[in-house]
């Protein structure tokens, strides 16, 4: 029952391939699956692993993320003995608040690391959606006497030519080589940007690396630990599905994958609810000639038209005769009579006028920015 692991989510990956969608929000705040933000899944993994304290390192565009997280109450992270610590960028003296990367971000938040009382710390990027139990990772971490354990996946869907971090492992799961942004990845294991380490050791590693002039956490610090064999860098394979939300098509596909029953059942488990900010909306209403086929629809929606292979966030209104197909419609959007959407991503509060048609191929979904009327 002891609180052994403190969580830390780094939201500053700085991925630009999400285009308009991340103009006013960080990747961690990306709306997902009708009622969530991406960070809800990261938080959920940590809470269901028994973590009581979670820090969230904020980077640019964090207003919507802060607004979403609020007091931490919805995640039961609002107490005196447990809590969500928002770590906004520092702005004092000569600092203007932009981290150069994870190493800089962690080093700038050494205070959080020092003030925590847990023995271990789990650090994750915020752009990956996966299910794992950190207690199992800790068990293996201890059993194999790792100094640090990196999480990886063999899923080919995570491999990207020209980008990503890949691991070569020996038979005991120890990392023997690392590869960064290779033109074509040589190793089958993709490092997903999450790791477990003893808290005091992390503080020490950060201090030494910064003092030694390192600038990158993985490309610099981790790689040199592996290359110089100074520490035992272990690994843990993430089970099940995993998604990296690093481009518009990847975002689109990740959402669409949840129309599959088996995917939903892996992630949405009765004993491990995914908590998110509440809106107190009424249930979705189906009126008149509504026709819905293979869709996820949140509370507060009003469906009077046709919806197929789509995901509708809270408060979306599909008027009579409108058709929404293979699309993601974010909250409070209105699709007027006779409009036709196919392979679209509509951001919050967009309006599609009567009879407007927006049709794109599956591989290149159209993104409509927040508040636009088309």
């Amino acid at each position: 029952m002891k609180k052994n692991i403190v969580g830390l989510i780094y939201t500053g990956e700085g991925i630009s391939e999400l285009k308009e969608l991340t103009r006013y929000r960080s990747t961690a705040a990306m709306p997902m699956l009708g009622r969530y933000r991406l960070i809800d899944f990261n938080l959920s993994v940590m809470i269901h692993s028994g973590m009581k304290n979670v820090g969230i390192i904020m980077q640019k565009n964090y207003h919507s993320l802060m607004d979403h997280l609020g007091s931490g109450r919805e995640w039961n992270l609002h107490g005196k003995r447990s809590g969500m610590t928002i770590l906004p960028p520092f702005m004092n003296g000569d600092r203007v608040g932009v981290y150069e990367g994870l190493l800089d971000a962690l080093h700038s938040n050494l205070n959080f690391l020092r003030r925590s009382t847990e023995r271990f710390i789990a650090v994750t990027d915020s752009n990956v959606l996966y299910q794992v139990n950190f207690n199992e990772i800790l068990d293996e971490h201890l059993e194999k006497r790792n100094d640090i354990t990196l999480l990886y996946s063999k899923k080919s869907s995570l491999r990207r030519n020209g980008s990503g971090r890949y691991l070569d492992l020996n038979g005991f799961g120890a990392v023997t080589k690392m590869e960064f942004d290779p033109t074509i990845p040589h190793f089958e294991n993709t490092y997903i940007g999450a790791f477990l380490v003893r808290r005091e050791l992390l503080i020490d590693l950060l201090d030494r690396s910064v003092a030694a002039g390192q600038h990158h956490f993985s490309r610099g610090m981790l790689a040199s630990m592996v290359a110089n064999n100074t520490h035992r860098v272990g690994s843990f394979e993430c089970p099940g599905n995993i998604w990296s939300i690093d481009s518009v098509p990847a975002y689109f596909k990740a959402n669409m994958d949840f129309l599959s029953d088996s995917v939903r059942r892996q992630v949405f488990r009765d004993d491990q609810p995914i908590w998110t900010k509440l809106r107190d909306e009424m249930p979705a209403r189906y009126l008149g000639e509504a026709k819905v086929n293979n869709a996820l629809i949140a509370d507060g929606c009003v469906i009077e038209g046709n919806v197929e292979n789509s995901i509708l966030f809270r408060g979306v209104h599909v008027r009579p005769g409108a058709t929404v197909k293979n699309s993601i419609i974010m909250q409070d959007a209105v699709i007027h009579r006779g409009a036709e959407l196919e392979n679209c991503i509509l951001d919050k509060q967009t309006t599609i006028r009567e009879k407007v048609r927006l049709i794109a191929p599956y591989a290149y979904p159209i993104v409509v920015a927040k508040n636009l009327t088309i």
């Binding site: 029953d261 249930p283 629809i297």
Partner: protein, 390 residues
């Protein structure tokens, strides 16, 4: 030391609610599911907080644990505050013998000590079996402006129904001249909604007097209000207009659910200025499969629809399997409707499993009811108007 409150609300959550039959076998009436994601008590509680009344006592003598668990710290209604909040108050034993609440007035009498902690100027009395949106702060302003001892919320009912209600005759200024419970020959169609605002000192005075009155049935309508009229107290009527529905019977509960499917609905739950708050269950959006179909219905998050649903209200986590048909029915949280089952004009309570090819209810006739946690066997038939449960 608790800080003084202007107005404290006392919610009469009632007894066993036997008119709801097996629906209240495992839960108190106010905790019965309504409208997909609500419980009946969400309406008066939300009305309170929307009217800035932040201290509420919930009086119940039946299944207080379920209400306690549902209400919890009060957070869903913003009632988890350090001075005030919401408290479930079962009748508690004061010595060798405790006593069941003997009537509405006696229930409040037994909890005068709770009210006294906040030393309020006014006490709002509510009941826990009505669906409506009401700004009690307007009623309170009316009470204060009129300098009344008691203000009763009234609504006009159709003359033909009037004899089912407690009726008031008022003068032109809205003062109550006469109060008659369910008269045979109504002389007024202004019916009491069972919502009262008392000035605190008057409440204490008349409850103590009523308690000492032999043969009193300790009821506000039958005893306390007549006594106040007799003593020439100023009793004001405050007229409420808008949707108001008693959900104390199977038929009226079903009716009220069906009202939400009308367009426009007679009560707007999509009102962002007057939200109805409810405890959240943390379910994902509902899913409709390629073989599923939904028409004219209310579907809550967590549902999975592989069959056909029409004219129905589905609560959180309901599963409708392939080939199943749900028509004109109310399905409460986490119930499963098996393959090929047909549900018509029925209320299926919580955590029910309806077996394959079962047939419940009918196209006409009374509402069929399945009580919570019941397993309806494969192929079982339950005719219109029948009930089954454990």
């Amino acid at each position: 030391m608790l800080q003084k409150k202007t107005c404290v609300a006392m919610l009469l959550a009632g007894g066993q609610g036997s008119r709801l039959g097996i629906l209240t076998r495992h839960v108190a009436k106010p905790a019965v599911s309504f409208g997909g994601k609500y419980r009946i008590i969400d309406f008066p509680l939300s009305n309170c907080v929307n009217a800035d009344i932040d201290t509420v006592g919930v009086l119940t003598q039946y299944k207080p644990l379920e209400l306690n668990a549902y209400i919890g710290s009060g957070a869903p209604w913003d009632l988890d505050i350090s001075n005030g909040g919401v408290y479930v108050l079962p009748p508690y034993s004061r010595g060798d013998a405790g006593e069941w609440y003997k009537g509405t007035a006696n229930a409040i009498y037994q909890n005068l000590e709770f009210i006294a902690q906040y030393n309020p100027d006014y006490v709002l009395i509510l009941s826990g079996d009505h669906i409506y949106k009401c700004d009690y702060s307007e009623m309170l302003a009316h009470h204060i402006k009129n300098g009344a001892a008691l203000t009763v919320a009234v609504r006009e009912v159709p003359w033909e129904d009037a004899s089912r209600f407690g009726l008031m005759n008022t003068d032109d200024a809205g003062n109550i001249l006469e109060f008659v419970e369910k008269p045979k020959n109504p002389r007024s169609n202004k019916a009491s909604m069972g919502v009262y605002i008392f000035s605190y000192d008057k409440l204490v005075h008349y409850l103590e007097a009523d308690e000492k009155t032999p043969k009193s049935s300790h009821d506000f309508g039958k005893n306390v209000i007549p006594a106040m009229l007799l003593a020439n107290e100023k009793l004001a009527a405050w007229r409420f207009e808008g949707y108001w529905k008693d959900v104390g019977t199977i038929e009226s509960l079903w009716d009220a659910n069906m009202d939400l499917l009308r367009y426009p609905p007679p009560i707007n739950l999509h009102d962002r200025q007057w939200r109805i708050y409810a405890r959240n269950v943390g379910e994902p959006p509902h899913y409709v499969s390629p073989k599923g179909a939904v028409h004219g219905s209310l579907i809550t998050e967590g549902c999975e629809i592989f069959g056909r649903v029409s004219g129905s209200v589905l609560s959180a986590g309901v599963l409708v399997e392939e080939g199943a048909v749900v028509e004109d029915s109310v399905i409460m949280p986490y119930s499963h409707i098996g393959r090929g089952a047909v549900i018509k004009r029925a209320i299926i309570a919580e955590n029910v499993v309806v077996g394959e090819d079962a047939a419940i209810g009918g196209d006409t006739g009374d509402i069929a009811v399945v009580g919570s946690n019941t397993r309806v066997p494969k192929g079982h038939t339950l005719a219109a108007g029948q009930q089954m449960g454990i």
